[in-house]
Each structure stands twice: as structure tokens, then as C-alpha cells.
Symmetry: C2
Subunit: 347 residues, 2 copies
């Protein structure tokens, strides 16, 4: 039921045709009536335990209060989020890599030569350790083979098809079911308070856009990611965009502030990440003038999700923990701060 209430409010916000009661709530959000905002917090941040929730709401209430010295005008309310490990899970391997491996298996019947070639042989035999021994070169070949040499439209179809059929090896759920319920609520809460929400991820932008609008309510033009080469060509009378094998832009680490500048053009005031790949994005956000909010999701929940940080090969969080106090970053303890992890766990 609550999901419908949220949707209705958001539609109301967008269309400007709310009924009187919703209109009052929407108006209160926009204009900063505190008591009504508090009741909306209950809707939007339901899956957050109180201590963590209040850190977020205290900040948002301050920066959206036009009579506060912390006020941030609506046009500057830019919020950026990493994707892997921040908005959805990333273990035991990045889901985009899981897609690539599944694609190799799907394509293998047309490529009998792969049964003896690296890096395909170990992948087809389920030998992930053997594949990883091939290092960056093996990963590069895997991504080039499965992500390029086709049009953007063909690639989009492949990702959508995979998302509907593939399942996670541990939960048995579709990958797009393994998004974080508390982060969905945070995205909605920020948007209801006038923020624009963006994804800024090391993941491939075309891979993400195939499903992020449906999953997070974030449209394609608010998704920033890594880029492959691309060419515009005519196939007869039909123009196509072909994905080319080279990596054109790596939207990770120091690349994230660059990607933000190029694609968004404003310095964010709110940033959420979970690994040292997000360090520079949070640093760039938190060192701007005025009020800023930086947040690292700390994977502490070995029972409901995964527990990893300083020594992990995937999503290593080391420098981010060291410098959290220096930059006033919130460390979200998934085990303690989140009532549920995934939407399918909601009652």
C-alpha cells in the first residue's frame, strides 16, 4: 500500500494535479512545513532505523528551509549515487560481469573455438579463479566481446532479456530485485524535497540505462557511467550507433568528478557511495562551499547481505573509512541502520 501512496504523491508532484489533501502535503514538502515533512519522513525512510534516519532528515530539513542559513536553492540540489554496492548488491561478482559471463555462455554455441581459448575456456567451465588469473586483459576481452561490436539498440535488448531471466547464485532472485529498499526510500525522499537524483557509476552507462529507470525512477539522462567508443553509421537507409571495443571513459575514482562535471555540470551537494572508487566523488562533493552531505554504505551484514570492507577485491572501502571523520561523512552500518535490505523482504 505504502508504495502506492508514494507513487501517487510523486505523480502529483510532477503533474501539478493533486487532490486537495495531497496537494497540501506536496505543498508542505515544497514549502517546508515541518510537521508535515516529519509525517512524510515516516513514509519515505521507513526502512531506516531512527539514529541514521535522523542524521539524514535533520540535514535535509535544514537545507530546504528557506529561512535557514543552510538553505540550498532547489536548482542546486544535486544528489549523486554510485550504483554497485550503493544502490544494489555487488557480490559475489559485479552484476555487470555476471551478465557478461552469461552472455559468453549464450553465445558459445556459435563460437566452438572458445572451448580452448582464454579467457573463454575457464569461463565456460565455471572456473572463475582461472578467469581472474588472466587479470585486466581477460576482463577487457570479456567486456569487449559482450558489450561491443553491436548497435546500442541490440545491446539494450540483450541486457533487458538477461535481466528478465538470469538469477543471483545465492538469493535466486533476479538481479534487479536486489536493489536496496532503504536507498529507494532515500532517493524518493530527496526527490520529494526538490533534489535531482543521479547515478554516477563505474558501470557501463548502456548497461545501467536498460533497467535503472524502472528500478530507481532515475531516467537515462540522469545516469552517468563508463563509456565505450561509439560510431554513427548508415546501414543502408538506417542510421545506427555502433558500440566500439575501446574504453572511451572510465567513470571511476578521479574519473567520477570529471564525469559529473561533463554530464551534470553542477557540483553535487549530496553524494552516496560504498567504496574507495567513490572517494573522489565524495571528496569533490564535501569540499564545496555551503552545506554538503557525504555517505558511505558500509557492508557489515554477513547474514542478510555480505560483510566486506578494507580487504575486499570488490568494493574495497579503506581510505573512505580512514577519512570519514575529516570530511564529516556518514558511515551507514547496513546491519544496524537498515530494517530490511531488499524490497522483497518488505512485509
Amino acid at each position: 500500500m505504502k508504495k502506492h501512496i508514494i507513487s501517487y504523491l510523486l505523480i502529483g508532484l510532477m503533474l501539478g494535479c493533486a487532490t486537495p489533501k495531497e496537494e497540501q502535503v506536496v505543498s508542505d514538502v515544497v514549502h517546508g512545513n515541518e510537521s508535515e515533512i516529519n509525517s512524510l519522513n515516516e513514509v519515505y525512510l521507513d526502512s531506516w532505523n531512527d539514529a541514521a534516519k535522523s542524521k539524514i532528515t535533520t540535514w535535509v530539513e535544514a537545507v530546504t528551509n528557506s529561512s535557514s542559513s543552510s538553505f540550498i536553492p532547489e536548482e542546486d540540489r544535486i544528489a549523486v549515487f554510485d550504483n554497485d554496492g550503493t544502490l544494489w548488491s555487488e557480490q559475489p561478482i559485479y552484476f555487470q560481469v555476471a551478465f557478461a559471463i552469461d552472455e559468453i555462455k549464450r553465445m558459445a554455441p556459435d563460437h566452438p573455438e572458445w572451448s580452448t581459448q582464454a579467457p573463454f575456456k575457464p569461463l565456460l567451465e565455471g572456473d572463475i579463479a582461472g578467469f581472474l588469473a588472466g587479470g585486466e586483459k581477460a576482463l577487457g576481452t570479456l567486456l569487449a566481446t559482450t558489450h561491443t561490436g553491436m548497435t546500442t539498440e541490440e545491446f539494450d535488448k540483450r541486457v533487458k532479456s538477461w535481466m528478465q531471466t538470469a538469477t543471483h547464485p545465492v538469493t535466486g532472485k533476479h538481479y534487479n530485485e536486489m536493489i536496496y529498499q532503504p536507498m529507494l526510500e532515500l532517493l524518493g525522499y530527496l526527490r520529494a524535497n526538490g533534489f535531482k537524483t543521479f547515478i554516477v557509476s563505474g558501470g557501463g552507462v548502456d548497461f545501467m540505462r536498460a533497467w535503472t529507470e524502472e528500478a530507481y525512477g532515475i531516467p537515462p539522462y540522469q545516469v552517468v557511467g563508463s563509456l565505450s567508443g561509439m560510431s554513427y553509421e548508415m546501414e543502408g537507409d538506417t542510421p545506427v550507433l555502433n558500440k566500439l571495443p575501446e574504453l572511451y571513459f572510465n567513470d571511476d575514482k578521479a574519473g567520477k568528478p570529471v564525469g559529473i562535471s561533463r554530464s551534470i555540470g553542477k557540483r553535487p551537494v549530496f553524494a552516496g557511495g560504498n567504496s574507495d572508487g567513490d572517494y573522489e566523488m565524495l571528496q569533490y562533493t564535501s569540499t564545496g562551499s555551503g552545506e554538503r552531505f557525504g555517505m558511505f554504505i558500509h557492508h557489515t551484514d554477513s547474514v542478510r547481505e555480505y560483510a566486506y570492507d578494507r580487504d575486499s577485491h570488490i568494493g574495497r572501502l579503506n581510505k573512505g573509512l580512514d577519512d570519514a571523520q575529516k570530511y564529516n561523512w556518514m558511515i551507514v552500518d547496513m546491519a544496524k541502520d537498515w530494517k530490511v535490505i531488499y524490497p522483497y523482504q518488505m512485509k
Copy 2:
């Protein structure tokens, strides 16, 4: 007065807090009540003569009518516009080049060596022909000298400062006053009908973002343009984004559909341009499935603006005119179709 009405309606659309009368109008726009939409056309496309206006409104009314076979869902209503010569003037030289030349003059006292060096010497002597004789190399040096080797924030300040002081050699107006009133109305009309409006220009993205939000109501994250190299670096404790001399991406010709794919991630349904540099953008737009609208602004008005097309060095329109019928592109005749050119000509 009309400008205030438009602003009020747009604010109402965004905030969902319209008064009952405006709410009805807004709701009618969203839900497609034809008689009310016609009255809004009067507000939004006032500077268009009837024949041209009706080509636009007929199409928009069809694609926003949910019971029409031409209907386009709101999330797919992506409209893209070139900037130079499409949203503002571009003669006698691209305004960004005028900025660069003015910057050379401003910086010259700190560079006495420029008085004998190409391409600075001809520029400082007002010898544009001599500068142009240096070809692409001269232009590259001009742009690298004035657009890179500084932080994004410093560059933004320089553009804003120039925009407040510099004036056009013919009209004597500030450059941001030389935007096209009919196109402002078209942008507003499309947005009121659920379209997202984007700029997709060969111009530098940082140059445009310094003023396009105020001029057109288009926020920085909806501006796609050419990109320089960029690095994220620490200056002491302060992170900065430095603009580097190399051209990283040229958002022109076949680069425009690539820029659209990378930054917007959806194929547009409406595209407006004015030169063959926009040909591929209009072609990519018009060859998609479903209803599409392509428009070339044809510079036919030697009295109120400039007249140029097939043989011009700036904004050449040749292939676009040849193929307009093939792709069903509207050719806007500025002299015949527009009642006024610039906002300052409004009564």
C-alpha cells in the same frame, strides 16, 4: 505581462501548487483538453506566424493525445536543439569565438610576446582575415589559450563576466540578448506539453552552461556539447577540475548522435537545427519509429538578422535543404515565419 503568465504556469507545473484556475489549465495541457491547449498556444507561440505555428501545434497535439495512434508517452518526449544559429545568432562569428578573441585582448597585457606571434598578432590588430588564414591550427591555439589551463570554476567566472560586459558589433546588445524569441516560446511550449528540452551543440559545454539556464531555462545537465580534456587534482586540501588543452569530444555532425546517446540515452522525437552540422542529429531523430519532428531554422532575414545558407562559412545549410522533403523536415523561414527575432523587440 505574458512572460509572467508563462512563468507562473511553469512554476505551477513544477510545484503542483497551482490555484484552481491555473490548475485547470495545467491539467488540460497535461491531459489534452483541446480547446484549452489552443488558448495556451496563443500564449506560447505568439511570435510565430500561423502557418508555421500550426505545423508545430498539430504535431504536438497529436503526440500528446493519449487516444491518438501517434501518442508518445511523456518519458519519451525528448527534444534536442542545436544552439548557434538555432537558439541564438551566430554571425558575423560564433559568439564563443568572439568571447575567445575578447579574452586574448584582456589577457594581452600579461603576454607582451603575443604582439609578434601568430595567431595572437592578427587578433590583437583586429585582422580577422589574417587570423582565419591560420586555419584550424590558429583556431585550436585560440581556444586552448582561452578555454583551458584553468579550473572549471575560473572559466565559468570568465564567461559570466564577459557576458555581462561584451556587446555585439552590429546590434550593440549583450550576446545573451540575441536569443530567438520564437525559439524561447517553442521551448516553453514543448516543456508545457511534457517534453524535456536539451541543447546538443558543437559549442563547448562549459561555455554554454555559464548562461544557458538563465537564458533558456535549460539546466546544465540538459546541455550536451563539445568537451575538453579534464583532470581532477588536489591543490593543497582543495580539489579542482582543470581544463586541459586537448579536444576530448567534438559534438558536431556525426558526433551529435553519439553525444545524444552518451549523455541523454534516449533517441529524441523532436530535433531543431540550422546547419549541416545538425544533419546527423535530425537524421537520427527522424528515422526512429513512431512520430518524429525535425526542423531547420533557415536564415533568410537579411534585414532583421542575417541571410545565409548553402555557401556560408558559418552555419552552412546545404545537405539539410536537399534532404528536407525526404525526411519531412520543416524549414523555418525566419523572414516569413517569425514576427520578431529577439526578445528585446517585443512590444
